[in-house]
Symmetry: C2
Subunit: 159 residues, 2 copies
DNA sequence: TATTGTTATACTCTATAACTATA
DNA sequence: TATAGTTATAGAGTATAACAATA
């Protein structure tokens, strides 16, 4: 037990996961109509989001980053490629690897979907007390950025 | 667009779902070793949590409350019943229904698991700025209590 | 031999449909 | 006939294993 612990609040609140997981499910459900309107699936959107920041050098790295499997994203990449939303170019330096990048059209789709989604999210956040809203976003950004190993005492499968 | 909207912060942050869903996954992963130590699966733990507050009158209601399917919880209830952690008594007033309740042993297991889980969660929350932590929990409790319909403009399947 | 991408296969999870009993 | 619980089946989603190309 940590020595600086405030009262462990054993019955004071639900488990974080018990609140966060269903909340995530509701947020996903709110995204689905938007995604459907652009004929896009959740994994496809995840790929577009990940590629926005910077191109990615291998499909395996992309898969890992979005929490998927390298075998699972292939059909997704095929689909995005067919529509001209991403490019898959063989790396000249290592022809085994594929340089993944967003096309201008892909970026346009991504921006359009994301602003619709975030507009809806802002509608929810607007219902919060301003101070809570700020603390919520600060804390969420911090926690979401924590590497997976930080969540368990036990080492998580990580080799 | 809401008239009181602050700047929609289009590129300012990730989508809420994109932060919350992976965070939920990490929190679940952190729970798994604890659950395994009690030879309990996630759905079983969900059932114990739901039964804690008050007994439930039908299995279908229990399933709905924990976001499961009435056919899916049967094996889970069988298992919890076999271990003596829950009771399934036919309702004398309507012998089709099963009154579901926690046994003292079930409550003991639930408490033990939950305090281990929340102890770990407190370790994470302790890393937050105190004001953020408070805002985070306030906002989370509010958002987690929102009914599913509040998340979409479109009516969600609800008949 | 090791790695990237790919395909094929098997497995797990979940939902749909059909059945029994009570009402 | 309708509802609660149960069982059996089918489907979607996911991971594991084997393969081809390149290093």
């Amino acid at each position: 037990m940590p020595d600086n612990a405030p009262p462990p609040a054993p019955a004071g609140r639900q488990d974080l996961a018990a609140m966060i997981v269903p909340l995530g499910r509701n947020l996903i459900n709110a995204e689905l109509p938007v995604l459907r309107a652009h004929d896009l699936a959740m994994w496809g959107y995840s790929v577009l989001l990940r590629l926005d920041d910077e191109p990615v050098r291998t499909q395996a790295a992309l898969a890992r980053d979005i929490g998927a499997d390298k075998t699972r994203i292939i059909a997704i990449l095929d689909d995005l490629d067919d529509r001209g939303w991403i490019r898959r170019q063989p790396d000249p330096d290592d022809r085994r690897a594929r340089l993944l990048s967003l096309t201008p059209e892909g970026r346009r789709v991504r921006d359009s979907v994301q602003s619709a989604i975030q507009e809806n999210e802002e509608r929810l956040l607007a219902r919060l007390d301003p101070a809570d809203r700020k603390g919520f976003l600060n804390a969420l950004q911090f926690l979401a950025a924590l590497p997976a190993e930080e969540f368990t005492d036990e080492p998580v499968a990580d080799d």
